[in-house]
């Protein structure tokens, strides 16, 4: 028997090709992430029922309960105006994923049509669209969102628009690459030769075949959008009081942090766990559907 160092789990191929075992581990990751994400969504949906003091997530204040440490009555303690942090954290689960969903829908709504046009029609339209995306992509994501959010009046809507504007170029790029390669395939030529109307070709052939990497990217991006949104809210550019946005809660509690650690800690953990869950999910999905893709955007 040959003595061997740590062997790889059984691989499907020999000298040529790559070990496919990554798929196995990916499934576990995805399951864990999916479970956590599902839990968070359930919490968000059931918040009005689970939260002990739902009014605290809204305009209620309790001047005599200011900055109480965690106790049996207030599991996460109370904040600087006496609101129950636990209830607010629970309600916050409704805010972040919602923003993420809105942003991603917005980005897809702009990015997919533009990308398909650029990829299918090619030529000068493609060039123009690509240069425009190049320019948007020249900015790190948070920066452009920051700039837009700073010039718009602070609100959740502005936040969504600001982040959405920064996000669509990635998707345009992605779809365009896919659409271009699909459009170049022989069977599309035959479709055209058969006289099938352009719209039909695009909707029934180009679009469905280009969409898979986008699905992977979107799932990977949920965590990123949540972090960006909470960062902008932390800076005061997004959610405003009394919205129970996690980022906002952290910034509100910052001044009291050294004496009342709970106001900052629990919302932050919520952000971390949510981003973590969706990142795990996205990662696992990527391993499953599109393992060759770049880890970079």
């Amino acid at each position: 028997m040959i003595e061997a160092p740590a062997p790889l789990p059984p691989a499907a191929t020999g000298l040529r090709g790559q070990a496919r075992w990554r798929g196995l581990a990916g499934n576990r990751l995805m399951a864990a992430g999916g479970l956590m994400a599902a839990l968070i969504v359930i919490v968000a949906l059931l918040a009005p029922l689970i939260a002990p003091l739902p009014g605290d997530a809204d305009t209620a204040t309790h001047p005599f309960l200011v900055l109480h440490p965690p106790s049996a009555r207030h599991w996460f303690g109370t904040d600087q105006v006496g609101r129950d942090v636990f209830s607010r954290v629970l309600y916050g689960a409704r805010v972040s994923p919602l923003i993420a969903a809105a942003v991603l829908v917005f980005a897809c709504a702009i990015g997919i049509p533009l990308g398909i046009c650029a990829g299918y029609f090619g030529g000068w339209l493609d060039e123009v669209i690509m240069r425009v995306t190049d320019i948007f992509l020249a900015f790190p994501p948070l920066l452009l969102a920051l700039a837009f959010a700073a010039v718009l009046p602070a609100s959740l809507t502005s936040l969504t628009i600001a982040i959405g504007i920064t996000w669509w170029p990635w998707y345009t790029r992605l779809i365009r690459g896919q659409a271009a390669s699909v459009a170049g395939r022989a069977y599309i030529e035959s479709c055209r030769a058969l006289g099938i109307p352009r719209r039909r070709i695009i909707l029934r052939h180009i679009l469905p075949n280009s969409i898979t990497p986008l699905i992977v990217q979107v799932s990977l991006d949920v965590g990123g959008v949540i972090l960006t949104a909470s960062a902008l809210s932390f800076l005061g550019l997004g959610a405003q009081d009394p919205t129970p946005d996690w980022g906002l809660m952290v910034s509100e509690g910052e001044s009291y942090f050294t004496t009342a650690w709970w106001v900052v800690t629990f919302p932050g953990i919520a952000i971390l766990l949510t981003a973590f869950a969706f990142n795990l999910l996205g990662d696992g999905l990527r391993d499953l559907l599109d393992p060759r893709r770049d880890l970079l955007r």
Binding site: A6, A138, G223, V250, G268
Partner: protein
């Protein structure tokens, strides 16, 4: 190689022109009247008109865009409403501190990320691999501002291991004043042999840098792991093994060589990203860099300053990508031979 560099440079110039135009557009999206903000709430009509003329708002948009372009290229990036200083000089003062922070963070991230990624790829599927993978995903999921607060509380306040804020102990300003040459404190202290100052700046740099390093470290670890695993099944790696090379050379030298390229690309991408991340931690650590400047500009709605910083960082980002593209072409001959 020269041809490749020239091509990339030309493309970068086009992108920069577009970036400047975009910031101009953003500036014009501002609701409200910049002239009114500039002149103040009690301005008379004549003062408003003067402000308007001063800010160039009375000319047609095309002319304004050209003037903006001309201004940017000649160094006139507008004047900060808050500090009343030229934005460019404000940036010049604040930038080195942020660049220092990001550089330190990236060095940490690379120093941690590459070995961790290699270890992960070497024994995939084992518990160490899972732990490293989970850790790296945790790193990229971290809300930076929160991590900054937590670390500051734990290490600075409670454990008293590291300083809480500032670039260096202010007391040292009197006993060991720091001569400024480059504007970068650590480098200045190093080249002037100012050891107490060097120690102080490094210890003050530690916490903020670790916070900013979390995301890049996670990214680089995952990247190295994926790249090495991708190549490890390929024929050329088997050939290296068949020639008798030990596993650590197979991974360390041969598989890693192919990974440097994407790692370099990641570092460029993440440089700009981290530069913006500093916005979130600088005010927490009293770090006098672009982040604090921007945070102050945001709270006072100082549009020229915000846009100036945006433009600056975008330009840094374009430059970083350009440099990395060139380095990549140098590292991987396939790119320039294409």
């Amino acid at each position: 190689m020269i041809v490749y560099v020239a091509r990339r440079l030309a493309l970068a110039v086009v992108v920069v022109a577009g970036v400047i135009a975009l910031t101009f557009v953003v500036a014009r999206v501002v609701p409200g009247d910049p002239a009114a903000t500039w002149a103040g709430p009690h301005a008379s009509a004549a003062q408003l008109a003067a402000a308007r003329r001063f800010l160039g708002l009375d000319r047609p948009p095309a002319a304004q865009l050209l003037a903006y372009f001309a201004g940017i290229l000649t160094g006139n990036w507008g004047v900060s409403i808050h500090t009343h200083q030229p934005v460019l000089s404000d940036i010049g003062t604040a930038a080195p501190a942020s660049l220092e922070l990001v550089s330190a963070a990236l060095i940490m991230a690379i120093a941690a990320g590459i070995p961790l990624g290699l270890v992960s790829a070497r024994w995939p599927g084992r518990s160490l691999d899972h732990a490293i993978r989970a850790g790296s995903i945790l790193g990229v999921s971290m809300p930076i501002f929160w991590m900054a607060l937590i670390l500051q509380l734990v290490f600075a306040q409670r454990l008293r291991l590291l300083p809480a804020a500032g670039e260096y102990s202010s007391g040292l300003l009197f006993t060991h004043p720091l001569a400024r040459h480059t504007g970068f404190d650590v480098i200045d202290a190093l080249i002037t042999g100012n050891w107490p100052m060097l120690g102080s700046t490094l210890s003050h740099l530690a916490l903020p840098a670790v916070v900013v390093a979390a995301y890049p470290a996670g990214l680089i670890t995952r990247l190295v792991r994926a790249q090495v695993l991708d190549t490890i099944g390929e024929t050329h790696v088997q050939m290296i093994r068949a020639l008798g090379f030990p596993e650590r050379a197979v991974f360390g030298r041969f598989a890693m060589k192919l990974a440097w390229n994407p790692v370099a690309a990641a570092v460029a991408l993440v440089f700009g990203y981290s530069l913006v991340n500093t916005f979130l931690v600088e005010s927490i650590f009293d770090w006098p860099g672009l982040g604090s400047y921007t945070a102050a500009s945001v709270s006072s709605l100082d549009t020229p300053a915000i846009l100036g910083v945006t433009l600056f960082i975008a330009l840094v980002y374009v430059a970083a990508n350009l440099i990395v593209d060139i380095i990549q072409a140098g590292l991987d001959p396939r790119i320039r031979l294409r």
